[in-house]
Symmetry: C2
Subunit: 199 residues, 2 copies
DNA sequence: AATGTTACCGGACAATTGTCCGGTTGTCAA
DNA sequence: TTGACAACCGGACAATTGTCCGGTAACATT
């Protein structure tokens, strides 16, 4: 007979809010976990019981906006039901790439703190990622059954690579070392990797 | 009038050897920098003066094998001078992907320890990576000038994405969570992303 | 209101990273 | 041979991560 305390959720929210605030003011890297605990008025034990590490915390912060993004994407795709799957796939990536670029620094942090035999789910096993993966896999499968290309043997694999091919480190390098803007990255990526795939 | 001490190189080699040994025996993550210093019979100051962090050390360890790989790849490509660039590109990736997969855990470590405003070169700015990038960019440029496809507007960008689209985290996930073998990854990647690009 | 459970507080603690620096040793050049 | 100087040794140190635990406060059930 487990007991649910209604202050538990409040504490979580306090932590998330304090963390988001500190991250925005000083940058993710410059903020320590103990600092977050103190700012949230929370003990260290409490903080770590909820979020095993900074990456875990970032994942939680990212989750909400990511889910909003996914549902909006899903809505957009639904409205295109009468268009060919190729167009839907292209539209998805024209929206996804900027989103990935904008959130690269969070994902870096999430992946940087992942341990080897972690019981906690991978970024790739997180809810938002799985939703996105399924959405894209569906489009590719549809393209495949239409027989418009011979290349898409393994839709899930292809989807996985497409999503993660703009890995956070790559994005940051393209932005800061090569000087590309978000839109340039998005445009070129789609031109080079989505168009050839669907024609 | 800088003075070169010939024991300096010896010290570097000692460190690299001790690190490689410890990494192989206990895994990269389980070995601390102080441990490496002690095993190499070297002071901590000395260790950190040469290698700013564990990633830096891993990069140095990876460098040699990577350069060997690159030169062998270059040789292979040279022998295919009379074949179309498309075939050369395909051959490159059929060899590169397994290499990337096998070395994923090193690259994870290298990228995990990178700081923001680091004076030290990025992984993407390392010598091996630049060589590889140029090799692949060359092929794509050649394909482009042959006019066989309209998609390759920005060869360097395309090359960059292609190389890093199998990011280390993605590779590890495909292997350990999805159960793909190295060869399956290589085969599917080439089928989905190299073939469509060059036809 | 009393009780048993659950969560929280918050400091101590160990481990690691990375820095610094005084003292020492080896090397090169004159 | 000797002096200048680079490189090294190695411990002290601060900061961070993550764990643990005894004591305390809040909650839900009765």
């Amino acid at each position: 007979m487990p007991v649910n305390r209604r202050d538990a959720q409040e504490t979580s929210d306090l932590i998330l809010q304090a963390a988001a605030d500190l991250f925005n003011r000083h940058g993710i890297e410059a903020v320590s976990m103990h600092q977050i605990a103190k700012a949230a008025g929370v003990g260290q034990g409490t903080l770590y019981r909820r979020y095993a590490n900074k990456g875990d915390l970032c994942m939680e912060l990212l989750k909400d906006s990511f889910l909003v993004f996914c549902s909006r994407l899903d809505e957009t795709v639904s409205k295109m039901a009468d268009e060919p799957a190729q167009e839907r796939l292209y539209t998805i990536f024209r929206q996804l790439i900027p989103h990935t670029v904008e959130n690269a620094k969070w994902i870096v942090e999430i992946q940087a703190h992942q341990r080897h035999g972690d019981p906690k789910p991978d970024f790739f096993q997180s809810e938002p990622y799985r939703i996105l993966l399924r959405l894209i896999t569906n489009q590719i499968e549809e393209i495949q059954t239409m027989g418009s290309t011979a290349f898409l043997h393994d839709p899930a694999f292809t989807a996985h690579i497409l999503i993660s091919s703009l890995s956070p480190h790559t994005v940051l390098h393209l932005q800061h070392q090569c000087g590309y803007t978000t839109d340039e990255i998005s445009e070129r990526f789609c031109a080079s990797f989505i168009r050839p795939l669907i024609r």
